[in-house]
């Protein structure tokens, strides 16, 4: 397991144009057609970096022009499902043993950093990360529809980075949706002065979203500000933040539920 082997492999891959392009769509399914649910209106499925962007050519996994046939479908990862039931359908692709080598030009960019992950998520190698593919990796993250901001049925790099930037590993527990660590919350309650002092606005926003979700889980009809409204409040100055209607509304709701306000 020497690194020299890895480098040799990388060099070989570069020389051969690795990773190899599949000769046709994966899993034996026909290739997707223009106009199918995974294809953008302009038909530009395969873009720079292998994943949908506005410009660019085929990516490393691109099987070529996507014409003819229907998009592969699986039964996993339906929208709105935070978690998956036991028992994986037989047609589920095997887990990646590693992350793929992606040709690299030696320049460090956000796109190049995230390209191997995007490729690993793309189980069927069609250069799109779709809802079912996202669902196979999902445990406590947001709904696919929250990640796919453009609503076009596939993730692009900026969408993935967006969700990663708003998903702090400190704030997730187990397999529950957007649930903050119970232990952590205990500590927040107990040691709030120094913890809150150390918290970034992102931490505070996540805390507020968690509290919102908790309130709604007890009373789904409760009138609360949306996450977008809460997010907007964090762009305000400290004084305006406290007066913002969304924040005032959350304060009242939390006070009524007996939850300490920490912000």
């Amino acid at each position: 397991m020497k690194r020299s082997h890895a480098v040799a492999l990388v060099a070989l891959c570069f020389a051969l144009g690795c990773p190899p392009e599949p000769e046709g769509p994966a899993n034996g399914m026909p290739a997707p057609q223009l106009g199918d649910p995974q294809t953008k209106k302009d038909g530009s499925k395969n873009k720079k970096g292998g994943f949908k962007t506005k410009k660019g050519g085929p990516g490393p996994h691109s099987p070529g022009p996507h014409i003819g046939g229907a998009a592969p479908q699986t039964t996993l990862g339906t929208a709105g499902a935070y978690d998956l039931p036991p028992g994986t359908p037989a047609q589920t692709p095997p887990l990646p043993a590693g992350l793929p080598n992606i040709p690299w030009d030696g320049v460090w960019t956000v796109q190049s950093a995230v390209a191997p992950l995007m490729s690993a998520l793309d189980d069927d190698l069609d250069a799109l990360v779709t809802m079912p593919e996202w669902g196979r990796r999902q445990y406590a993250g947001p709904h696919f529809d929250l990640v796919d901001k453009s609503g076009d049925g596939a993730l692009d790099t900026s969408e993935l980075l967006g969700i990663l930037a708003s998903t702090d590993p400190l704030f997730f527990e187990g397999h529950a949706p957007r649930k903050a660590s119970a232990k952590f919350l205990e500590r927040v309650q107990e040691f709030s002065p120094w913890l809150v002092a150390a918290a970034s606005s992102q931490h505070r926003y996540e805390w507020l979203c968690f509290q919102r979700a908790e309130l709604l889980s007890k009373d789904a009809t409760m009138q609360l500000p949306t996450e977008v409204e809460l997010r907007a409040a964090f762009t305000l100055s400290a004084d305006d933040f406290q007066k913002d209607p969304a924040i005032v509304s959350m304060k009242k709701a939390l006070s009524a539920s007996g939850t300490k306000w920490l912000l």
Partner: protein, 534 residues
Amino acid sequence: MKRKGLFFCSVVVACALVLGVRSLNVEDAQAADPVATKALAQNLAPVPAVQSAPRTSPRDSPGTVASGPSIIVVDFDTLRADRVGRTPNSITPNLDRFASQAVVFEEAYSNSNETLFSHASLFTGRYASEVGSLSYDFLLPEDVPTLASLLRDAGYQTFGAFAGGHLREDYGFGSGFQKVSQAMDWSSLMTTRGTASKWLKERASNAPVFLWLHGYDTHQRYLKPTPFGYLFSELSRSGTVREIVSRQNGFREVLDGYFLPDVDFNEAIDWTALRPIGTGPGDRALTELGKSKHNDSVSIVERVALTEEDIVHLRGIYDGAVAYADLQFGLWMAVLEQEGLLDSSIVVVLSDHGEELGERGLFGHRHDLSDETLRVPLMVRPPGGLSQTFRVDEQVSLIDVMPSLLEAAGVEAPKEARGTSFWGAVSRQEQVVERPIFAESNMRAVRVRAPDGALNFTGIAADSPYWLPTVKNTRTSTLAYQASDGLSKARQAELRKALIQWREGLTIAPPTQRTSAPSDLKRALKEKGYWETK
């Protein structure tokens, strides 16, 4: 690649073995990589060494303008060396890219299995027991020169992006940093690289920077947000492994290969006291649990044996955390690229210690001085990067990092520093002198590692005044010693002698320094299992 059979009878003898050690073929390397050699010549021109300036107040800059390159250290807490650049099926594409431009130390080892003591060695070039108490009350004294303080005094702008836990100013680790950003405990690089990036963009001058970026991405709890959490493990698996993964302290509730869901380990086991002579984790830990002073309150109702398949699944969760850390690293490198720092900076990648992933039936790093808990990634990318990887197979340790980076900066290392600079390997592709690696911990154990094996001594606190006489009067045939498989009796005796000579050469710090960490922090750390229960 190892030089079997070549070793030392003592540290001095080990140094004398230089001539017998396989020489790195510099000429061949230069012939194969003229671009790299030229780049090195251009970027690593010798910087005149300057005397260490008198220490100034903690935050002040002496007004000196540094002439050395910027130094940026990326510190992955708890990253196992064997998870980086794994072949086949690497899970670290961004670190692999970095390695392709860097000097890679294949046999790098930490001097402790604990963040607290490991960072003491990283920052001071000395063993933790020399500068403070080998306990969770450790405090790095203000008057001990640190890497940051020496670079600051040489005119560097210094910034620490600390991720909390045991890497925080409360333990004295802010010494020498003009500014420390203290993230919430056990934060990710996601958080700390944000503050580090902000500092880089807003820094006042163009003077070289010394930046320490730290993150707990691969520390327990391993589970990371989608899509990383189950990138390498089946999401659909239920039962015991699912419970372990989902519980806040689930991995710590694995003992001797069993999952014990109903035992409060923090209350039941004083891990630091789990080292009477000849005992330790592994199949004896449950026995220890039974003997615990809390025995009356411990009731093992349920004990679920883990299968090999379970262990593989759990390791996959850790691997997901590694991939997460790797992406954070890639994004950080993009920041450095954007800031135009990569041509003028040394970038170091390291980890403070490793992790057991089911070996000896445990997950964690607090219980053992072993290759799993001590072997770490260590890579150094010189300014501009190399055109291909340069590998060093000789043993080095984290205690060598400080003198190496000081040499790179042209700053004289303090005479108290124990480490030896490996900068020659980075700048001139010189041979590294192989030396024994010593490690210590607060759990009554020390270790010496040679290329052909290791010897552990357990049973008495490493900073105890009774340590030396005890070791001297204990033969290697007793249970207090645990040697690597296949290590001959003669070699064990040599390693025992090396241990004694090592300790005889150290001045153990008086047990007066204690951290000023607030009581609520101590309680929080204790929740994580990082505080003695006694």
